[in-house]
């Protein structure tokens, strides 16, 4: 293989050609260099001096959110920020001094902001103050030439029509955090960048990928001060770049009714608690409100540290959504579930009676009825209507806790409802196995006695309560509660539709349903019922009061005046109802923290919400009911006059329970 010199030589023509090609290739390179550096040199030199080409992000507007009746609830509104491009600063001290004057800020504060961003590229704007006033905008526009680098940037802020009403439900948007950035890019496969706003809670968070649009960009030629001169269109030099318009996000229509939200919110004035109203035939949420609340619009416009710290330091925690993110002992509202279990299992029937003298003895332990001197002989109807504890203690001795748990689970307790909101609580329905696992101890019969009246370990959310009573109202269906009717694009195309989703068929016998429903109707509509004083008019509501003990109390404390004890040890007040009686449409639950009584604290709220519903959606039915109620009253008065009796109203007002 050596001495192939001739063979090598035979390749010389090809080698020479390769040499020519190399020369030709570099001639092309040089020609291009000549074009750029000599022919276009002057122009490009000026460009480089001024860095005139700037790529600006064009923020995409988020989608709008409407109520079920097309009221605009969440929308976008322009926000102006004062920004400074460090590249153009000639005299930093002077710039800071002038800025502090215009924006009425502390110079040290501005200096700190600039230092924090000193590591980023010099041509990138630094936000000095967010959400500046129109006066400040005007001053900056006129003073622009005197303070190089300052300008006003317009952003799209997020505003909420009813501010604090439903703050938890809508949630808020804010800038993506450093920690979220890599996590969310990975999760959503969306190229989030620093400064992007994303939904952080509520609907804004859950439906972020629908609501958010796609940002675009725009190439701009700017002057030496950084101000916009003109948009780049076509120039031979700018081939290959094109502007990209922003695509706005999709809109949503919720199942929420704005008026009912407002009614619920107003009814909760001064209280810590929540209201959930649900359509019993579809699981649509009509209202979902918790207080104390927060104003989500403050988060996207300019979250002041004062407002934020006031939210965080408030020991009532306004950021927590009490309708799903908190759970409570249900108290007597749970007796309905116990009654259903006992009736379905055949442990009791309509003729079962228990004599209540105010106490129930189990071995050495004494269990008290809320009515100190007892109810006398009660059947199931009175037991529900007057919420007799002793009747249910008796059931507790017959009903295994696991059987009760089976019925409670069937009705949606002890697990998340599956509503599309984050951090929903499970609540808790205890079983024998649960307790052994929890602390290694056997279940006690006494604990069953407390569980059947909704105490001991039992915990529920307001939403679960509304959901369970919706089953009693509709007779057999557990629906997944949902908030969204549809998602639609700007050109009106419907992208997603959400209808009733039946999670389970709950098989309850007609007899059980009749007895329980009669009892619940009696609670509100019979004189001795625990919610008689809050029955309202024209709504035909059936419901159940509940007063849940927060701490275990001694007998004398049990009967002490709740309002006189300190706030943290006061009982929670609950009320759950559905209406109207014969054609149920809506179930509403309310839990008021430390509200003392279910009847006085929660029942009026539920009544108001149902009244708003009836007025709006069933006005004729309501009128008919009112007329019937008036006729009934007139008949009663007449009958009483005929018997020559005078009615004596209880002087102590609403019954305790």
């Amino acid at each position: 293989m050596f001495n192939q010199e001739d063979l090598v030589k035979s390749h010389k023509p090809r080698a020479d050609l390769l040499g020519n090609m190399v020369v030709f290739a570099f001639a092309v390179v040089l020609a291009r260099l000549w074009y750029l550096q000599i022919y276009r040199g002057d122009l490009l030199y000026r460009f480089s001096l001024e860095n005139r080409l700037r790529k600006e992000n064009v923020e995409a507007p988020r989608g709008l959110i409407f109520s079920r009746n097309n009221d605009l609830l969440v929308f976008n509104t322009p926000r102006f920020d004062a920004v400074l491009v460090p590249q153009y600063i000639s005299n930093e001290e002077q710039t800071i001094a002038k800025l502090s004057q215009i924006l009425s800020m502390n110079p040290a504060e501005i200096k700190k902001i600039l230092q924090k961003s000193s590591r980023q590229a010099q041509y990138l704007p630094i936000t000095i103050k967010k959400n500046i006033s129109h006066t400040e905008v005007a001053i900056i526009e006129t003073e622009h030439s005197k303070i190089p680098g300052i300008s006003v940037q317009t952003f799209i802020g997020r505003d909420y029509a009813d501010k604090e009403i439903g703050g938890h439900l809508f949630g808020y948007i804010s800038e993506i955090s450093q920690q979220q950035l890599p996590k969310y890019i990975n999760r959503d496969k969306i190229k989030y960048k620093q400064g992007d706003f994303i939904g952080q809670s509520g609907i804004e968070e859950q439906f972020d990928k629908y609501l958010r649009g796609v940002d675009g960009y725009l190439f701009m030629e700017v002057d030496a001060m950084g101000a916009l001169k003109r948009l780049i269109r076509d120039d031979a030099l700018f081939q290959g770049i094109d502007n990209k318009p922003a695509i706005s996000g999709n809109n949503m229509r919720l199942t929420i009714d704005r008026e009912m939200q407002t009614t619920a919110y107003n009814a909760l004035e001064g209280k810590a608690g929540s209201v959930v109203a649900i359509d019993v035939n579809s699981g649509e949420i009509l209202a979902m409100v918790a207080r104390p609340s927060f104003d989500p619009s403050k988060f996207s416009m300019s979250l002041s540290s004062d407002y934020w710290s006031s939210l965080v330091s408030d020991d009532k925690n306004p950021l927590r959504d009490r309708s799903i993110q908190e759970h409570y002992p249900p108290g007597s509202t749970f007796k309905t579930i116990t009654a259903i279990a006992a009736l379905e299992e055949g442990l009791i029937n309509e003729s079962t009676t228990v004599a209540c003298n105010g106490t129930f003895k189990l071995g050495k332990r004494v269990f008290h009825c809320w009515k100190k001197h007892g109810h006398g002989v009660v059947d199931i109807h009175r037991a529900i209507k007057e919420s007799c504890d002793v009747f249910f203690y008796k059931i507790g001795t017959m009903l295994d806790i696991n059987i009760l748990a089976k019925y409670a689970n069937m009705m949606g307790f002890g697990r998340r409802s599956g509503i599309t909101l984050s951090n929903e609580r499970n609540g808790l329905i205890p079983t024998r196995e649960w307790k052994v696992q929890k602390n290694g101890q056997e279940w006690q019969l006494g604990e069953t006695l407390m569980s059947v009246i909704g105490q001991s370990y039992v915990l529920v959310t307001t939403l679960q309560m509304a959901q369970a009573y919706a089953i009693i109202a509709n007779g057999n269906s557990l629906y997944r509660p949902h908030l969204v009717k549809e998602i639609f694009s700007n050109d009106g195309r419907i992208l997603a539709k959400f209808g009733a989703e039946k999670v389970a068929e709950v098989k309850l016998s007609e007899k059980t349903l009749r007895l329980v429903r009669d009892g619940l109707y009696g609670v509100v509509n019979e004189r001795s019922g625990t919610a008689w004083w809050f029955k309202g008019s024209g709504i035909r509501m059936s419901g159940k009061t509940g007063t849940a003990q927060v701490i275990r109390m001694s007998a004398e404390k049990l009967f002490a005046k709740c309002e006189e004890s300190d706030y943290k040890s006061r009982n929670h007040g609950l009320f759950v109802a559905y209406a109207p009686k014969d054609d149920p449409q809506i179930a509403v639950a309310s839990i008021i923290e430390h509200g003392c009584h279910g009847s006085s604290a929660a029942a009026p709220i539920v009544r108001d919400v149902i009244t708003t519903y009836m007025k709006k959606y069933r006005p004729e039915q309501m009128e008919k009911y009112i007329a019937e109620e008036r006729a009934e009253q007139a008949r009663l008065r007449k009958a009483m006059a005929a018997e020559n009796k005078t009615e004596t109203a209880p002087v102590d007002g609403p019954d305790d329970e």
Binding site: S48, L49, Y123
Partner: protein, 371 residues
Amino acid sequence: MDYSTKFANALKKYDFSFFGTLSIIFLVGIVNLYSATHASNESSIANLYKVQIVWFFLSMAIGVGISFVNPRNFFRFSYIIYLGCIAMLLAVLALGHVGMGAQRWLGFGSIKFQPSELSKIAVVLVLGRWFVRNNYEHELSLSDMVIPLILTAIPMLLVVVQPDLGTGLLILLIFSVIAFYKKLKWRSIVVVVLLAMLTGGVVYKFGLKEYQRQRILTFIDPTADARGFGYNAIQSKIAIGSGQFWGKGFKKSSQASLSYLPENHTDFIFSIYNEEHGLTGSLLLIFLYIVLLFRFLWLAGTVSNLYDSIIVIGFMSIFFWHTFINMSMVMGLLPIVGIPLPLMSYGGSSLLTFFTCAGMATSISNSRNLF
């Protein structure tokens, strides 16, 4: 002969031209790299030039070591090097699947290394050996190209799926130069070129949608934002053009200091060089590259066996394609595909490749007078 005379003789015969030219270009490159990165806020970027100097000495040492290897060993070990290279490419793919996403590196302790770099050299060696072993006197037709093409395609595809389409295409271009040198018939060349242009053009123009075209560009270099490509290219053109005839001078690049240009220490180093040194600087640099390329061409014509001649042409083509593609892409003549400029761009693996090529060429040059 005593030991020192032997050494003096060896030194006399030693061909310094390759390492010499490479060192001069590197000198220009390191000064430019310093200028491009010194202003960076990130200390890891600002210190890159030091890392590059370390790589230079390491690569030079390896290159010089290779220059003392008898070139017959290149021939002897062609297939072993080739198979070793393929094994490493497979290893990268296997590890890459574990790590998800693009994986081009193999780590040996703390030293990381890209087998795709080695594959360029391996392909040159294996093609040289195949063409010599099947020593055709006549001009080659397309059927003679089947096996060499397969030998090229295996490492090429392994590189492409990494994914690194840029290097994959580079390997194909190296093959085409060697095939051309090895007297592929003109008729065949015309047929291949026409066919490639036709299918490529038709598919690109009519067979693909706009977003697919963008995706191809993204696929070529996954780190580049396909949409932002136009922007980088414009900033690069502004940088080059603003240098005008004389340039703005050392450390005067505004595009670099304001970080308008991303990747300015790797792919866009030529833009910074032009901004600071203008057309005059480029003339000098291009002159140096041409000297180097013609040194390879000249050597290829003066060796006494065909294998040496072919691999020297192969090395020449490695240098040529890197230089030409990089310059063209930063001037907006070609899409940005992430091919470094030899000895100018930051990067240890590529420095090692270029010095390995130079070491083998030096060894071949030195051996000419031995037999």
